[in-house]
């Protein structure tokens, strides 16, 4: 084991996969000598050259399209989108091309590509640089969506994503890039489609992912002191969801709290709540509760920015409320 940061974990994964398979290439804005806006690709251009670490102009749509065409042809492009908010400019290529090509061609082509999306707020970058848009992606059959919450998952999921034969939307959280954690010295993958029970518990299932996992773990420690024994599920993959892990947990605890940073209405929390309401209904001792981002754009002001997403205290309070029901 060794301790590295989330961004180092991503970089290691990319570097290892590029070494293993010459078909893996990187594309994105300022990912070369600049090292990427969040330093994920730092120095990779020195190691792999400009032909494999490709600095692109500001042309998000064409980058997504170009990656799609390259992937159809046998390469495995990993695209960095500088901020996830700019994926709005790639939607046509991702949704109408990459996601549908395998189906429309009856399997004649496949599109093995990864699109990296730095998500979330907490850096004061305001409404157009702080969104969490994973729910859109989960509504598109043909895509896979993952969201690691720590360096171990970041590395393992990235390696799995690069090897997957489908377009994988790889969500990262800006506030996690400097988070440290242990990863094995030897090679490993984290399988796409498998959630992880981060903490076992008996009274309440907290279902979450991404940066919120860290907050939920903190809240769980505080709740423990108060005698509430929480189980925490880190989804890791949002599409396809690991239904079994979620449903089994809720069947055991009888209570579910879903936590995410994305705006509540239409968020992926709704899908999870709906699943539980459908498949674990007789086991529920209380209503399924969602704690999510407020239904507003992300404000610049720091206090307000903090107020729009669930914080540790909010999670604790919500869990306590749910335990009383």
């Amino acid at each position: 084991m060794k301790e590295i940061t989330y961004k180092e974990a991503l970089r290691e994964a990319l570097s290892e996969e590029m070494t293993r398979d010459e078909n893996v290439i990187l594309m994105g804005e300022d990912i070369g000598i600049y090292g990427g806006n969040f330093q994920v690709t730092q120095d990779l251009v020195l190691k792999f050259g400009e032909e494999r670490v490709i600095d692109t102009p500001l042309s998000e749509a064409a980058i997504a399209g170009c990656a799609t065409g390259a992937a159809m042809s046998g390469l495995r492009p990993v695209v960095e989108v500088m901020f996830s908010d700019f994926v709005t400019l790639m939607m046509d290529n991702l949704v109408n091309q990459a996601a549908k090509l395998s189906f429309m061609s009856a399997g004649k082509v496949s599109v093995p590509m990864v699109v990296r999306l730095p998500m979330g707020c907490g850096t004061g970058a305001a409404a157009q640089h702080s969104q969490s848009l994973e729910a859109w992606m989960c509504h598109v059959p043909g895509l896979k969506v993952v969201f690691p919450s720590n360096p171990y998952e970041a590395k393992g999921l990235m390696k799995a994503a690069v090897r997957d034969n489908n377009p994988v939307i790889f969500c990262e959280h800006k506030l996690l890039y400097d988070a440290v954690g242990n990863v094995p010295q030897e090679e490993y993958l984290v399988q796409i489609g498998q959630a992880n029970i981060m903490k076992k518990g008996t009274q309440l299932s907290v279902i979450t992912y991404g940066y919120s996992v860290q907050k939920c773990l903190q809240a769980a420690m505080q709740l423990r002191v108060k005698g509430v024994d929480v189980e925490i599920i880190d989804l890791r993959t949002l599409l396809p969801l690991d239904e079994k892990t979620i449903i089994d947990s809720v069947k055991k605890t009888g209570r579910a709290l879903i936590v995410h940073e994305a705006v509540k209405t239409g968020g992926i929390g709704a899908e999870i709540a709906a699943l539980i309401a459908e498949k674990a209904f007789p086991y529920l001792k209380a209503p399924v509760m969602r704690l999510a981002g407020k239904d507003v754009p992300v404000p610049f002001n720091k206090n307000l920015e903090q107020a729009v997403v669930p914080q540790v205290a909010d999670i604790k309070k919500a869990a306590e409320r749910l335990m009383r029901k």
Binding site: I63, C66, M72, D92, N93, Q97, S105, P141, G142
Partner: protein
């Protein structure tokens, strides 16, 4: 490679195949036999088919919503195209794709596209791979005049240019994007001019003259193949068909205009050329027409006798293994 007699006859055969196929598809839709929608290419046979014939083994094309001609041009088989039009399991895309999504990578076709401009990114990416792998191939990216107003056109042209990718952007300027005349959708006379924004070379050709289309496309493709970076070709042509099967009224153009272009029919012109240059005799042309008619009949029979895809298989191709 210069246009040999054999190749010319082959080209003519494909053009006739395309014409008869499109007419047949039109009738099948009119008769309520085919389902969905379709965009016929009548009048653009030389533009699409002769261009494809300028390619060689390993080259690729990307096509548009109006993609049937390109499919014939690149050598896909009539019966698998028709079976796809019928939505049958034996179709090129097992009935899942339909008229706008004909795709056959083994033949070099990276796909028709229901999204106008959708092929631009794909073509650029396919060319990126060719360059990366040091392959001696090119991509021929078909698009319409209308598509050149999409943002993706600009972005893809620029990428191809700065990265010197082996791709030829082949703009079929057929005068309209649905009802919008090209002269109203842009303030320039020649779309080829747009290449200059990217420091890219371009040529303009008469898209209704198959021999010209072939020769000029061939030279452009060679230039690109040699590693000189991308090129843009503007093929000036005209769509005789309505925009789609729903475009019946056509209030946006008058019959006189269509007549004028009918007089420039690319097939008639190629026939004249072949006769004049002793490439073929009248009898040979007649025989080709008869053969193609027969083949088309068989293709339809094949399609009609094919099975529908199974509902149980719906999930099968959503994700690649």
């Amino acid at each position: 490679m210069s246009l040999t007699n054999e190749k010319t006859i082959n080209m003519y055969t494909k053009m006739i195949t395309a014409r008869l196929m499109e007419e047949m598809i039109g009738q099948l839709f009119a008769g309520g036999i085919l389902y969905g929608t379709t965009h016929l290419g009548i009048g653009q046979e030389a533009s699409a088919i002769a261009a494809c014939m300028a390619l060689q083994e390993g080259d690729k094309i990307t096509l548009t919503h109006r993609n049937h001609l390109g499919c014939i041009g690149i050598g896909m088989e009539l019966k698998y195209i028709m079976a796809e039009m019928f939505g049958k399991e034996t179709g090129v895309c097992s009935g899942l794709g339909g008229s706008m999504h004909l795709l056959d990578p083994d033949k070099g076709n990276l796909g028709g596209n229901g999204i106008v401009g959708g092929g631009l990114g794909i073509a650029t990416g396919a060319a990126l791979k060719m360059k990366y792998k040091r392959e001696n191939n090119v991509v021929l990216c078909f698009l319409g005049d209308g598509a050149t107003n999409e943002g993706l056109f600009h972005e893809a042209m620029n990428l191809a240019s700065i990265w010197k990718l082996p791709v030829v952007f082949y703009v079929e300027n057929n005068g309209y994007a649905v009802s919008m005349p090209t002269e109203r959708s842009m303030n320039i006379h020649d779309i080829a001019k747009r290449a200059e924004s990217y420091g890219m070379r371009s040529i303009i050709l008469d898209g209704n003259n198959a021999v010209d289309v072939y020769n000029l496309t061939f030279s452009a493709v060679q230039y690109v193949r040699e590693g000189n970076g991308p090129m843009l070709i503007e093929s000036k042509t005209y769509r005789i068909s309505g925009h789609s099967k729903n475009d019946t009224e056509q209030r946006y153009r008058d019959a006189h205009e269509i007549e004028q272009w009918n007089a420039k029919c690319p097939i008639k012109r190629l026939e004249e050329y072949m006769l004049k240059n002793n490439v073929a005799t009248k009898e040979m042309l007649k025989k080709i027409n008869a053969q193609v008619t027969e083949e088309l009949k068989e293709a339809i029979l094949f399609s009609q006798n094919s099975l529908e895809p199974a509902v149980e298989d719906l999930q099968r191709y959503v994700y690649a293994k």
